[in-house]
């Protein structure tokens, strides 16, 4: 049972509710399960079921914010763009039709917004004001301190290497490895052929490995 939110005048039919029981955080949340469930939620949201839309948001908020963070390299900007992604999704609800993976629609919006944001940032000559903190702390209690430190080093190098990639290379790797999209889904998000996705991912991996080597890293 959720709690009703107070919305400003102008949203007569929508009383958004918080929905409990949806897993947040962690890498599993980066790979939403069955699209069928998503489209059922979309249909309910189209019919004015605000709780269904909220459920969609909660289900995808972590992967979308994660995608935006890795693209924008700023936690604050990422959250802002991720929120805007869901606002756009809501605005286009009536135009959505089942037939594609729901995640490709959502990440397509997020991708366009992040690219626009990067373009605007570059045009204004504004750098990242709140760079992401290094997530070197991947310690696991079962690990020996040296293992934990090694894992942290690797994570830090991978993050720095990822940040150094072009947006074109970064987006395919993030969509594939972090968001768990397959090649067909990535091709839909990028609106390109699967062959392009395949070659772009291969090149992105080469570039990332080269960056990691430049940082003195060795993954194997």
């Amino acid at each position: 049972m959720g709690h009703p939110l107070e919305l400003p005048v102008g949203v007569p039919t929508m009383e958004l509710c918080a929905v409990k029981g949806v897993v947040q955080g962690g890498s599993e949340a980066g790979k939403p399960a069955v699209d069928m469930q998503e489209w059922q939620l979309v249909e309910r949201a189209q019919a004015g079921d605000a709780a269904a839309f909220t459920q969609l948001v909660r289900r995808y908020q972590v992967p979308v914010v994660h995608f935006c963070q890795r693209m924008l390299l700023s936690a604050q900007d990422a959250e802002d763009v991720a929120q805007e992604t869901f606002v756009r999704l809501y605005r286009y609800l009536d135009r959505l039709e089942p037939g594609a993976k729901f995640s490709t629609v959502l990440f397509g919006i997020a991708r366009n917004l992040t690219l626009n944001h990067l373009r605007d940032t570059k045009r204004r000559g504004r750098g990242v004001t709140d760079p992401l903190e290094s997530h070197a702390g991947l310690a696991d209690r079962s690990m020996r301190p040296d293992q934990s430190a090694r894992l942290g080093e690797i994570a830090a190098m991978v993050e720095r290497g990822l940040e150094a990639l072009t947006a074109e290379h970064r987006e395919v790797l993030v969509l594939r490895e972090i968001n768990g999209l397959d090649y067909e889904a990535i091709a839909r998000v990028l609106d390109c052929r699967m062959g392009t996705v395949k070659s772009r991912i291969a090149r992105a991996r080469e570039q990332l490995q080269a960056r990691i080597r430049d940082l003195g890293g060795d993954l194997v």
Binding site: L5, V11, A18, K198
Partner: protein
């Protein structure tokens, strides 16, 4: 053997695709990797890279994320519902400036005013049109183009404030400034079609027609 020839003997994109389970001919890749130490090593590297990327920690998303999305949707809906009125307010905001300029010109004989429309309102910059004007330390506000060029009056900050205060400009400007900020938010929330419609309405207003 040249580098190109050596490269041709090994797997490139297909090996990367195999790591993703997307190779066109998985059996072919598998048999090649089994007999090729270089590709086997490359495969281990790609796998390690993939594992490292997948193990990067996710973001910490606030528990109120969905609520904030809802609030944003609500603001956007309100703005769209009332944007014709907002357009009128924007035009009214420009009107306040014109009135202030007229009052000043009466109290400070000299410059001739020229007719000014919305397009004459200078960009407000980061601090916005009105607070930028209020922050003017001298009669530089006239540089906004209300008087004819070259007729900038000599007026110090104190005189300017007194003149604006006497005219009731501050009260109007504060109200209009709030309206302007709302409109800025509104405009940012518009999509391309809505922006075009917004601009069309502004033009209509400038031409004197009713919105």
């Amino acid at each position: 053997m040249t580098d190109d020839a050596r490269e041709a003997d090994h797997l490139g994109e297909e090996l990367s695709a195999w790591v993703d389970g997307e190779a066109e001919d998985a059996a072919l890749v598998e048999s090649h990797v089994a007999g090729c130490p270089e590709c086997a090593a490359r495969y281990r590297e790609l796998n390690a890279l993939s594992a490292a990327l997948r193990s990067l920690p996710g973001p910490v998303v606030g528990e109120d994320f969905a609520e904030r999305v809802a609030a944003r949707i609500g603001r956007g809906a309100s703005a769209r519902r009332y944007w014709p009125a907002a357009a009128a307010l924007l035009a009214a905001a420009a009107g306040v400036v014109i009135v202030a300029a007229v009052v000043l010109s009466v109290r400070q004989p000299g410059p001739m005013l020229r007719t000014t429309g919305v397009e004459d309102v200078p960009p407000g910059g980061e601090s916005g049109l009105f607070d930028e004007m209020l922050l003017s330390s001298d009669a530089a506000a006239w540089d906004y183009g209300f008087p004819a060029s070259g007729d900038t009056p000599e007026m110090n900050a104190e005189e300017l404030v007194l003149a604006l205060s006497a005219s009731g400009w501050f009260e109007d400007a504060a109200e209009a400034w709030e309206a302007e900020r709302d409109i800025e938010e509104l405009v940012q929330s518009l999509d391309e079609t809505e922006k075009m419609e917004f601009e069309r309405l502004l033009r209509t207003y400038e031409e004197g027609a009713e919105i």
